[in-house]
């Protein structure tokens, strides 16, 4: 045996007094961790393959399994942490770029957790959403500055295309190819049932899902996969993806193994070829270029669909957003550095981009100061984890939020961060037939509907507490937020006061 520098990250604890040897753990693990030993008549595990996805734990009928962090340790060192040392060992043996999945896991400040929401007491009444109407309906799109009237004084409708959402939450872009067919069906059906929208991501739209077109945002990314005229016209809106929060500045790479027959047809590329999205759009090097693509897409869709431009939250996000607002786009989507991904280089995921809270506040402030806030709607994503994050985002100035990691969690994802391996035990980020079937869309869609329904209830409760009865009245209402444990600079950027002020 050669020297193995990397010890297993996890330890599998099997309570032998509970194990009934049903072998569910064995038949459910795509990483082949568990196996039955015929000689000893016990289940044994190869921990080095375990990714801690909990599939075995969740299905074990007698709760005989637990997975814990392997207590084996390197000599303690505040500078050379176990992660850093392990990464060096990995690269010294592979010479490769380190890959991981899902959003930035580093211990950076989460500003949502440093903001508190207001509530009414005595001087203004709170509202009980169970007894009184509470409006969460939201419209996204350009709003006009002026009202036009004809010679009789009647209003001439001049509003561009709008997206109607029953609640200010949408499912963010995740492509077919990175996600399974069943995961996409779950998202599409849930969106239709909820009256919200989901986003195809850059992988085109499977022909089976054209029926959900009115609840679909179709994406046009740098690889232009699956983009054709029917695709553009089927969606409720078209999104140009300029960047992604998890990996700002770089493109995407879907390995050939995931380009199955169906994915190939949808993406319009040969079976088994790697799907590479270039880092930039090769036809966009300026706001003027972006304007050309926006207008091309508007012409292609007969000016009936709003165009969204999605960017990653980076250092100059406010100036960039200001440019986008002038490019003819109807909606700007901003993705914070905690946004998820199917695969990203670890160093980029962990070190590039800025928190969505700060990006949102600075973009909203800048657009207001420039008098162009109404020219666009703002949608933010990049780790919206719960309903209070939604409320805080809207109070900071967002029109709606994008969620994706939370949606995947609802479908069973356990954030094991190995989507790139293609062996998702939960049937979400895989194209292997035996694994894809593990996600029954009948179950998946209901769980997504449940999640958004629950969040909407909570949003109404929080709005009611503030004495607010519509999302419109909460939008950009930063007086409803107070910072806690933040310094003056952070408060200034967020445009909120400190608690107690």
């Amino acid at each position: 045996m050669p020297i193995n520098y990397i010890f297993p990250q996890f330890e599998i604890l099997r309570d032998e007094t509970r194990c009934i040897k049903c072998r569910v753990c064995e038949n459910q693990c795509a990483n082949q961790v568990h196996r039955y030993d015929n000689d000893y008549r016990i289940m044994i595990a190869d921990e080095s393959k375990c990714v801690n996805c909990h599939r075995c734990v969740a299905l074990c009928p007698t709760k005989a399994l637990r997975i814990i962090k392997n207590p084996h340790s390197f000599r303690e060192n505040g500078n050379w942490t176990a992660d850093i040392i392990t990464d060096i060992y990995k690269q010294a043996s592979s010479a490769g770029v380190l890959l991981s999945s899902m959003g930035n896991p580093m211990n950076y400040p989460v500003y949502w957790d440093n903001m508190l929401i207001n509530a009414s007491q005595v001087t203004n009444p709170s509202i009980d959403p169970l007894r009184e109407p509470m409006e969460t309906r939201t419209y996204l799109g350009q709003k006009k500055h002026t009202i036009k009237r004809d010679h009789k004084g009647n209003i001439v409708p001049n509003l561009g295309p709008q997206l109607e959402l029953s609640t200010p939450i949408m499912f963010s872009a995740m492509s077919y190819g990175s996600l399974s067919y069943n995961a996409h069906e779950s998202l599409a059906r849930a969106s239709k049932s909820l009256g919200i929208l989901y986003n195809t991501g850059e992988g085109g739209l499977h022909e089976d899902f054209y029926q959900y077109g009115s609840n679909t945002i179709v994406q046009v990314a740098s690889g232009r996969f699956g983009v054709h005229i029917d695709y553009l016209n089927t969606g409720a809106a078209v999104e140009i993806k300029m960047g992604q929060g998890a990996k700002p500045g770089i493109g995407g790479h879907l390995p050939g193994a995931k380009i199955t027959e169906d994915v190939s047809k949808t993406r319009m590329i040969p079976v088994g070829t790697d799907a590479i999205s270039p880092a930039p759009h090769h036809d966009i090097y300026s706001i003027e270029d972006l304007n050309q693509l926006v207008m091309s897409l508007k012409h292609a869709t007969d000016f009936k669909k709003p165009v969204i431009v999605k960017i990653a939250a980076v250092h100059n996000v406010a100036a960039i957003a200001s440019g986008i607002a002038r490019s003819g786009a109807d909606i700007i989507a901003i993705d914070g550095f905690r946004g998820g991904t199917g695969a990203a280089p670890v160093r980029i995921r962990d070190n590039v981009g800025i928190p969505i809270e700060l990006a949102l506040a600075s973009v909203d402030t800048r657009l207001r100061n420039e008098g162009i806030r109404d020219s666009v709607s703002l949608v933010v994503g990049g780790s919206i984890r719960c309903s209070s994050d939604v409320v805080k985002a809207i109070a900071l100035g967002a029109d709606a939020v994008y969620i994706a990691t939370a949606a995947l969690l609802a479908l069973g994802c356990h954030l094991c961060r190995t989507c790139y391996s293609g062996k998702c035990n939960w049937g979400i980020a895989t194209q292997r037939e035996d694994l894809v079937k593990r996600l029954n869309p009948e179950v998946g869609y209901q769980r997504l509907v449940n999640l958004i329904t629950a969040w909407t209830h909570e949003i109404k409760e929080m709005m009611g507490g503030m004495g607010i009865n519509s999302i419109e009245a909460l939008k950009g209402n930063r007086f409803m937020l107070r910072g806690i444990g933040l310094n003056q600079k952070e408060l200034d950027i967020l445009g909120i006061r400190h608690a107690g002020e």
């Binding site: 049903c22 072998r23 569910v24 038949n27 299905l59 035996d434 593990r438 029954n440 179950v443």
Partner: protein
């Protein structure tokens, strides 16, 4: 009439239904106690090859051959469910031979064993339906 509906499209071949079935019909409160180191006696079986798998249990036929063939009247239909009276079964296994689905099985308890939709097991739904992680077994009106 409620019947068990199996959809092979969603069956993962995990065999959990067999274990939940055997547990539910064991009469023992603890699953570990009921199944650990015991030979499994489920009333349904997963049929499986490399590509496909699905659970097979009694179809509760409208005109069941097993009931017709039973020489002692141990098998009968009660409220659309084909039931077995263990006290009357003499273990001749005629029903085992005639069932076209292989859903009646010999057992080492003397009487044959077959699915009775968990009637009398105190659960609202059959254990296999509740235990299936992917809704491949459902109780549906037919």
């Amino acid at each position: 009439m409620m019947k068990i509906k199996v959809n092979e499209k969603w069956c993962l071949g995990c065999h959990l239904c067999e274990y939940y079935c055997a547990f539910a019909n064991s009469g023992i409160e603890d699953m570990v106690k009921a199944l650990k180191d015991m030979s499994l006696r489920p009333k349904l079986r997963i049929e499986q090859n490399e590509k496909i798998s699905f659970a097979v249990s009694c179809r509760h036929c409208e005109d069941p051959i097993c009931v017709k063939s039973c020489i002692t009247g141990a098998l009968s239909i009660k409220d659309n469910v084909v039931c077995i009276d263990k006290n009357r079964c003499v273990g001749c296994y005629t029903c085992v031979l005639v069932c076209p689905y292989g859903a009646v099985m010999p057992s080492d308890e003397g009487a044959v064993r077959k699915c009775e939709l968990c009637i009398g097991n105190n659960d609202a739904k059959p254990a296999c339906v509740q235990g299936c992680p992917n809704k491949a077994i459902e109780l549906a009106e037919v």
